[in-house]
Symmetry: C2
Subunit: 492 residues, 2 copies
């Protein structure tokens, strides 16, 4: 194994970058800002996908697939959306390469093969999808349309980081069309809540559900719901968003329907998405200086069994025991691997599984054989215990459940102890700089003040929590009256 | 429902295009040559994906994800591969749009935001993946690398058709690296065989496993294995390919490993893929003039239950019976839907399910209630039978199995009756034009002759079957000696 990770206290950012690469989650590619998601990282993403996909389908959504490219004229149809994404668009201008006459063996863009209209590589798919919905909706009978797409998107970010901010990323984007405003609002809130439950129950990450301020809204939305998480370094991370789009896209793409009374009306819309950015949230919420820590629900291998032996005879006996454990755990739908590689010593295997966050490690040595025991090590607490084979399966089940819950509780305790209420701008700056985390403060409701606070402190309003206590007060910057606190933080 | 499909005998191509759209499988988009895969079509593709993914994982492959873009300098590294795809590449040249100063509200490509190096939208991922593998392989211990990717790719086709030939399509591409030539060859053959079994057992489409001639090989491969199917109009369709890439990509990207003796050697490679083109094969193999016909293994709904009623009281009783059937069939892992929409009459529902290829339709009316029966209609044979409720579940199970097998047998009978052995060029042309299908003929083994035959007849060599009888003869065009027959056909 390679040498130890940089510790979080030494350099949090370096710790993160090293961990992502050394735990075999992802790496940078030859393409600026684009990552390679390695098999171990992709296996975790697949588990997220499977669970989310199930939740979407249970709530009546269907998957479909829309083109990667958006013709420029469609892209610019919804003006706010276009303006929001124009500065980070990869643009296809040509459709052919040819041999470079000046450089034998090299290719160049064929100047004859210029597209009449440039194609934008989708940064999000509202434009192409609403142009399609136009053909799918005539009457109220065609509504609601509840569509989801799993896809890659491209946003040309200047400063990129593995999983957190990459030029290309993987995501799902839901796009729905409704007959009424109320129904669309309900959908937007429902999906935000599905995200919240998924992230909390499945990823063991506590989140705050809220709405964005106008300046932090999705370009083209009338309201953006969000879930906000807190990382171990005190910075917030937006883990998912769900947008109520009003009739903006319906108007831009002329999508009307005949209602029950036969009158024509524009359709109401939502869109919502989570991305491989969640991998970053997962890593930064639970991991430690020894490497990745995974909640059992997301671990490609929940349990790994490592044999410790000198003789072939010992290995044979250990293998027999291990195979019984494998069968019993698989009956319980647990993922378990017997790491009997002969190319690595037990110490190297221990280090690798620790680095890769396998929740439970079972070691079996000759003494264990004699005593009918095994040694179980928990990745989250790094504690060990000896368990009799008769009790093993129940113990593993209990430990996996405990790990899932403990990780959530630990993250919740950290998060809750990092929400600081302040009433002055001085206290605000102190909380932000000395302690980090969310700062709960009164704000006068204007974009101007929000911008000014951001300029002075780098903190943004992460959200106005959905279940917010109504409490009068005065804006920390301007002193103007306010009727509720909002959550500020520095954010990823 | 809309009016009837054009019949296959009237215009096969028109029948196909109409069917794809009317059965809600896919439609053309605003982007030239790119399709929208609609929810019903995507649900079928998801079933294909799930089964293939399972087969890949069972044989030790892992999923990963590599960038959408390939820098031009990497793209051109393997010369044959680059040459093969250069003419159909979408190329990203800019990374930003800006407001068009001449047209208010419109955008234009920002001339300042030109990329230093153009990015090719992947037509296939060997280049970017082998550039990555370079960092993953040092020693024989790192081999084999068995990687698969589910992704979208873009090939700028001039003449496109839904599913069969689209500028963007979805596929999986396997990329593996091995220590020896023998191992890589075994892998390429294994994956071709996995494709063959999948297409035959799961899609009910008979295929011939074979190898391509040099001129039909994948650009950059030393050998291309393939599976070839036959459509109802007598044209062949290449349903999947698996390539033995030799050391070509390892040499181009300098991917070496230390073998057990410590010597450096280039790695051996394979790549293999199937795509949404399989949807086209599925449609064209089984469907009829009434619409889509689906094998039960791929049907989003294997059974649909339609209530026929006049009074609300009848509906209540029918619903009770239907719910029992739903529960019982779901226990058997069958997908079944109770179509109790009040917006459509039974006749319209029947027509829709027929058009969309639901394998079994169960109708329940008031008389059925009295007699404790239902009416079952088979989509493939369009036959109906009345079944007592006591026998229903067993009968449905038996029918679904029979449909799966019957569809395969029917396609096999058609295929086998459309392989014609000929020994003269006149007979060759007659077989090709009057009967269609595969024509089995002797060929002198030269690309020159192959090209000439293609020029004269539009027929290409689809493959040299893997289990080919060795039989001396004379080339149908040149009369030169040949030691085995090859399969010609006009192809999609």
């Amino acid at each position: 194994m390679s040498k130890k990770l940089t510790s979080r206290s030494t350099d949090y950012s370096k710790w993160y970058n090293e961990l992502v690469v050394k735990a075999d989650l992802a790496e940078n590619s030859a393409v600026r800002g684009c990552m390679v998601i390695k098999p171990y990282g992709y296996a975790i993403w697949e588990k997220m996908q499977a669970e989310l996909d199930k939740k979407f389908k249970e709530t009546g959504h269907q998957n479909a697939y829309f083109p990667l490219f958006v013709p420029k004229s469609l892209f610019e149809a919804e003006e706010k959306n276009a303006e929001g994404f124009a500065k980070e668009c990869a643009v296809v201008t040509h459709y052919r390469l040819q041999n470079d006459p000046n450089k034998p063996g090299k290719l160049r863009v064929d100047p004859e093969a210029k597209l009449e209209e440039e194609l934008v590589v989708r940064p999000t798919s509202e434009a192409i999808i609403w142009n399609t919905f136009k053909g799918w909706v005539q009457s109220y009978r065609d509504l609601p349309l509840l569509i989801n797409q799993w896809a890659n998107v491209v946003r040309w970010e200047m400063r990129t980081r593995l999983f957190l901010r990459t030029a290309e990323f993987l995501w799902q984007e839901g796009h729905t069309a409704h007959a009424t405003k109320a129904e669309a609002l309900t959908e937007a809130k429902l999906m935000n809540n599905i995200y919240a439950n998924f992230v909390q129950d499945f990823m063991a990450i506590p989140v705050i559900e809220g709405v964005k301020t106008e300046s932090e809204r999705f370009a083209g939305a009338d309201e953006t719901y969000c879930i906000e998480a807190l990382m171990q370094d005190g910075k917030a991370l937006q883990a998912g968003t769900s947008h109520f789009l009003g009739q903006n896209f319906a108007e831009a793409f002329d999508v009307k329907f005949a209602n029950k009374e036969g009158k024509q009306d524009y359709v109401w819309a939502t869109s919502w998405g989570v991305s491989t950015r969640l991998m970053g949230a997962l890593i930064m919420t639970h991991s430690d200086d020894y490497g990745l820590v995974l909640p059992p629900s997301l671990a490609p291998n929940q349990v790994v069994i490592v044999p410790i032996y000198k003789s072939e005879e010992d290995l044979e006996q250990i293998t027999e025991v291990a195979n019984t454990i494998l069968i019993d755990l698989r009956k319980k739908n647990r993922t378990v691997k017997f790491d009997n590689r002969t190319t690595h010593r037990p110490g190297a295997k221990f280090a690798q599984h620790e680095l890769q966050g396998v929740p439970l490690r079972i070691a079996i040595g000759p003494k264990d054989l004699a005593n009918q025991t095994v040694e179980i090590a928990r990745r989250d607490t790094l504690t060990k215990e000896t368990v009799h084979l008769n009790d093993l399966i129940n113990r593993v089940e209990a430990l996996l459940e405990d790990i899932q819950q403990s990780l959530y509780n630990k993250a919740l305790t950290y998060r809750d102890s990092h929400i600081t209420e302040v009433d002055t701008f001085e206290a605000f700056k102190t909380a932000l700089n000395d302690k980090g985390g969310f700062v709960s403060a009164h704000w006068d409701g204007t974009t101007e003040t929000e911008d000014k606070i951001k300029e002075l402190t780098k903190a943004t309003i992460r959200c106005i929590p959905l279940e917010n206590k109504q409490e009068t007060g005065n804006c920390i910057l301007t002193g103007k009256p306010s009727k509720e606190r909002v959550l500020f933080a520095k954010a990823y």
